[in-house]
């Protein structure tokens, strides 16, 4: 138990940077420079403090740690309750890690309205971290929805040509899902008289039919966020139009909010409905894995391709979460973390090219025009940008799931867990992985290999020092996760054991109750 409110500090410290950015004044260059530095400094400090969470995390405890509990709106019995367990710990770290990386990556890419940009990212960080720490349904909802505001602005102001369409689609789609969750939260509040999540985990015991309704309401929100097929269509649009850093946060953290929501709320609060609806989730996830992989194969836009691959990878995550044995849930969590790092890095890779060429179109980079043998002495980007080619390859392989890199562990654990329960699901999900390798390698070949035919490409520069700094932590982290996953799996273990154990005992209880006369 921590003596000082470290979670609140991590959550709200970014607002100090926001405050600084708001008051800073002067000529435009100075303001931009100061805001950038302030935002970077704040987010790095936040990251360092959040590392303390990991260092002081008690891996043997299954319950919540670093808890803080205050009254917030006593009239409605809503509390300010923060705390993390093995499930949320790494999501907090992921958010605090990706924010400084985003800020650093947009150092050279964003020149308009830098001040607002930095404010938006810092506010976003507060909401993201807060959401993963919240242990009160109302607080959770506030942070969960609050994320929409800065993200809407990030896509809409700094996005591409169709940014307005994408921003609205993103906002309305996710809002539509979330408002139904709000009703579910209200129903739980009405039943319990409180919105405290740990209390709800202990005491909430709803009749089956109620559980089903509430499950669907939560599902509407989380499925859109994950996103699951067929409500994934906002994601490719949002990704394509969002600025690079926006895509990074979107893929890295925002999608995880859905998976996290399933594990934090749907499964522990509504176990019988979880069991009832699990086959539906498997079905949708398998479709997502296979169908979106196929869709990814025919994309002409790099960001869209990676966006579809995210849908496929998140399909594995939802399968893992709902198989509900220890391996699969751990795998699901690990896959989310890995995807958070790897897809974020892939979007950064796209961003590196976009900063230079101002397009995401695959054909621009590829050797689509092969008929110019005279220029054969320039062998593609791999020679022009060796550092870049390496980084891109590294993350492509990590995304495919090459053993030794992070993607493998999560997928393997999920499939292992799935095989025990449902061979077909595991088999079909594994097929998706093969398709995943196909589109990822295809993308890599198109971008990096082939002849350099365009004059504009011949002058392209390799990554500069700042970009290397951006990628370095991600590369190291991916290796670490792939080679020694136990550093990440151990803190999860106790909580996942408890989650699965509670779920199974709840199911058993329900079954005996239904058998009793």
């Amino acid at each position: 138990m921590s003596s000082w409110p470290i979670l609140s500090l991590v959550t709200f410290l970014p607002l100090v940077g926001v405050f600084f950015c708001l008051v800073v004044n002067g000529p435009k260059e100075a303001v931009d420079r100061n805001c950038r530095s302030a935002a970077l400094l704040t987010s790095v400090v936040v990251f360092l403090i959040s590392l303390l969470l990991w260092a002081r995390f008690d891996v043997t405890k299954a319950g919540f740690q670093f808890e803080e509990k205050l009254d917030w709106v006593p009239a409605l019995n809503i509390g300010y309750h923060m705390g993390i367990d093995g499930i949320s710990l790494f999501f907090v770290l992921l958010s605090t890690l990706l924010t400084p990386i985003c800020i650093l990556s947009s150092w050279g890419a964003v020149h308009v309205r830098v001040k607002e940009y930095m404010i938006a990212f810092l506010v976003l960080e507060t909401f993201m971290v807060g959401m993963f720490c919240a242990l009160d349904l109302a607080l959770f909802y506030v942070f969960f929805e609050g994320v929409l505001i800065p993200m809407f602005l990030i896509i809409g102001i700094w996005g591409g040509d169709r940014r307005v369409y994408a921003a609205f689609k993103f906002f309305l789609y996710t809002l539509l899902g979330s408002v139904l969750m709000l009703l579910a939260i209200i129903t739980i509040y009405w039943q319990l008289g409180t919105t405290d999540i740990p209390t709800a985990m202990e005491k909430l015991n709803l009749p089956f039919i109620w559980q089903c309704w509430l499950f669907l309401a939560f599902f509407a929100s989380f499925a859109v966020k994950v996103p699951m097929w067929p409500v994934h269509t906002w994601l490719p649009d949002a990704h394509v139009e969002a600025p690079t850093a926006g895509s990074v946060i979107l893929a890295g953290v925002l999608l995880k909010m859905g998976g996290y929501g399933f594990l934090r709320l749907s499964i522990p609060l509504l176990p019988e409905a979880t069991q009832y609806f699990a086959p539906m989730i498997f079905g949708l996830s398998v479709v997502a894995v296979i169908y979106t992989s196929l869709v990814a194969l025919v994309q002409e836009d790099m960001k869209k391709l990676i966006a579809y691959s995210s849908v496929a990878h998140m399909g594995i995550v939802t399968i893992g979460a709902f198989i509900l044995n220890i391996q699969s849930v751990q795998g699901s969590l690990f896959q989310m973390l890995s995807h958070g790092v790897v897809s974020a890095a892939l979007f950064l890779c796209v961003g590196v090219l976009y900063d230079r060429m101002h397009t995401h179109e695959i054909a621009v980079f590829g050797g689509l025009v092969h008929r110019m043998p005279r220029y054969a002495f320039v062998f593609g980007l791999v020679h022009r940008m060796p550092r870049y080619a390496f980084v891109f390859m590294f993350f492509t392989l990590a995304s495919i799931g090459l053993p030794g890199l992070s993607g493998f562990i999560g997928e393997f654990l999920v499939l292992l867990g799935a095989f025990k329960v449902n061979t077909w699901v595991a088999f079909l999900a594994a097929t998706g992985l093969i398709l995943g390798a196909a589109y990822a390698l295809w993308l890599y070949r198109k971008i990096i290999f082939g002849e350099l035919t365009k004059n504009s490409l011949k002058a392209i520069l390799d990554m500069n020092r700042r970009e290397v700094v951006v990628f370095l932590p991600l590369v190291l982290l991916t290796l670490w996760m792939g080679i020694y996953p136990n550093s990440f799996l151990d803190p999860m273990a106790a909580t996942v054991d408890k989650l699965v154990g509670d779920y199974q005992s709840a199911i058993k209880l329900a079954r005996t109750a239904s058998l009793a006369p």
Binding site: L76, V142, F143, G146, I149, L153, L180, L182, W190
Partner: protein, 480 residues
């Protein structure tokens, strides 16, 4: 029955306001146009002093042979109305000066309308209710047409007058039926008669329907909303602000005290009406506003939608429902005041503009003003953590607890649709390329109002507790 000094002390704020208004009227008539600045400031001050008088010293009870009632709910509502009116007078000066219609009658008419609102909020008898309502309405008819050389403004005034009279007629007709079947116009008598079993009689129910219809017109709930967009668009903007804030809150308070007071025994009957009106208002407020280009018209539809949410709180009929109504109205007051303060700052080359497209690129030319409007818009859309979210949360909690599941689901869905047009304003301000910049507003009351409102929204967002305590105390007035 007490007609002694006690009655006069209870009605002290109203008497004070009436006296000050009369004195200022005389002063204005004597001095002529020169008196306008003084009269306007004095009137807003008088309104604020009246608001203070409500609480110091605070008294409860009935007065004037039970025609007049003062309790926590009426006091809170009056305070909201008074603050709303005072601010809308302060905000109107620049507007009327520009169109050369800055006359001393305007603040006085607003004060008279406010007096009417206070009387109707405190009404404890159908006759008193009608007198208050008409005092309010007549003053409002006049100021809707205050820009008398503008076709739109006079049209708005006439439209409001004709339709408002029809509504008053309906209310009176319903009241007469109720009088006939219950044997009295006092709320206590009606309530007693209904409890004794007259509620089953068809005449009472028909009377109730007419009364509710008349009240629904005043709060502009669907299907009695037709006048709202035209009047809001046509009336001078400060007057629209008054309609959207003070008049709406007063009418809503009236509806609450009538339905939850004497007609409480008929709850099952009126609940259906209110639920239907609520769902229709939420729906129409959301869908009809989607294609509006004029921001005042948009705010009209937005106010219809907001009334829908308030009615949902009322339809739950519980103490929590009334709390949610008060809570929502207080937040609505702040947000709407803020929005109108911004609208009143929208001018280009010294001409007021009202189209949403005129806001294009505001985020660059006037970042703070845009930020304030952004806060109001997200708050109106009910996006957490902003204050509007707490209002909606409160309403939906009350609705779910009253088992109004279907209206609650429709309500949240309507709020998603409605969020589109609030977002559209944000989009115009932040995403679009700047149009010709708006005039840079000098320091003005409007600017101050917008910032104070934005800060209040922020405070309510983070700490909704104090406001919910106020709401809880107010609701105690109906549930002693």
């Amino acid at each position: 029955m007490m007609l002694g000094i006690e009655s006069w002390t209870l009605a002290r704020p109203e008497l004070f306001l009436a006296a000050v208004t009369a004195l200022l009227l005389i002063y204005g008539v004597v001095r002529g146009e020169v008196a306008t600045p003084f009269v306007s400031i004095a009137t807003s001050l008088a309104l604020l002093v009246t608001a203070v008088l409500l609480f110091v010293p605070y008294r409860e009870g009935t007065a004037f042979a039970s025609l007049f009632i003062v309790d926590r709910l009426t006091t809170t509502m009056k305070a909201l109305v008074l603050v709303g009116s005072a601010i809308s007078i302060l905000m109107s000066r620049a507007y009327f000066e520009r169109i050369k219609a800055w006359r001393f009658e305007y603040p006085l008419l607003v004060a008279l309308a406010t007096l009417g609102m206070m009387l109707m909020i405190s009404a404890n008898d159908l006759m008193a209710l009608y007198v208050g309502l008409e005092l309010q309405s007549l003053a409002l008819y006049v100021i809707a047409a205050f820009q008398r050389d503008s076709l739109r403004s006079t049209e708005a005034g006439v439209k409001y007058f004709v339709l408002g009279s029809v509504a008053s007629g309906m209310l009176l007709f319903g009241a007469s039926l109720i009088y006939g079947f219950c044997g009295g116009t006092a709320f206590v008598q009606i309530s007693r008669a209904l409890i004794e079993g007259r509620g089953g009689e068809i005449g009472v129910v028909i009377g109730l329907v007419f009364v509710v219809a008349g009240l629904a017109f005043k709060v502009s709930a669907v299907p009695f909303h037709m006048w709202t967009p035209d009047v809001y668009e046509g009336a001078p903007t400060p007057v629209t602000a008054l309609f959207a804030v003070a008049a709406k809150i007063a009418a809503m308070s009236l509806m609450v005290s009538v339905l939850m007071g004497p007609f409480k025994p008929l709850f099952p009957q009126w609940q259906q009406i209110v639920v239907v009106a609520s769902v229709l208002s939420m729906g129409l407020g959301a869908f009809a506003a989607l294609r509006q280009q004029n921001i005042k018209r948009l705010m009209a539809y937005s106010s219809i939608g907001n009334v829908g949410y308030v009615l949902l709180g009322l339809a739950s009929g519980s103490e929590k429902g009334i709390q949610s109504v008060v809570f929502y109205l207080a937040i609505y007051l702040v947000m709407t005041m803020g929005v109108f303060a911004v609208i009143l700052m929208m001018k280009r080359r010294n001409v007021m503009v009202e189209n949403i497209a005129d806001l294009a690129g505001l985020a660059r030319s006037e970042p703070m003003m845009a930020l304030a409007l952004l806060v109001f818009m997200f708050s109106l859309a009910g996006i957490p953590p902003l204050a509007g979210f707490w209002g909606k949360l409160y309403i939906f909690i009350a609705a779910v607890e009253a088992k109004l599941y279907v209206p609650a689901v429709l309500g949240v869905l309507a709020s998603v649709v409605a969020s589109y047009y609030y977002l559209r304003i944000v989009k115009v301000m932040y995403f679009d390329e700047p149009a010709e910049a708006l005039d840079r507003p000098a320091f003005s009351v409007n600017r101050a109002v917008a910032f104070v409102a934005a800060i209040l929204v922020a405070v309510f967002s983070l700490a909704p507790q104090p406001l919910s305590l106020v709401a809880a105390a107010a609701a105690k007035g109906l549930f002693p």
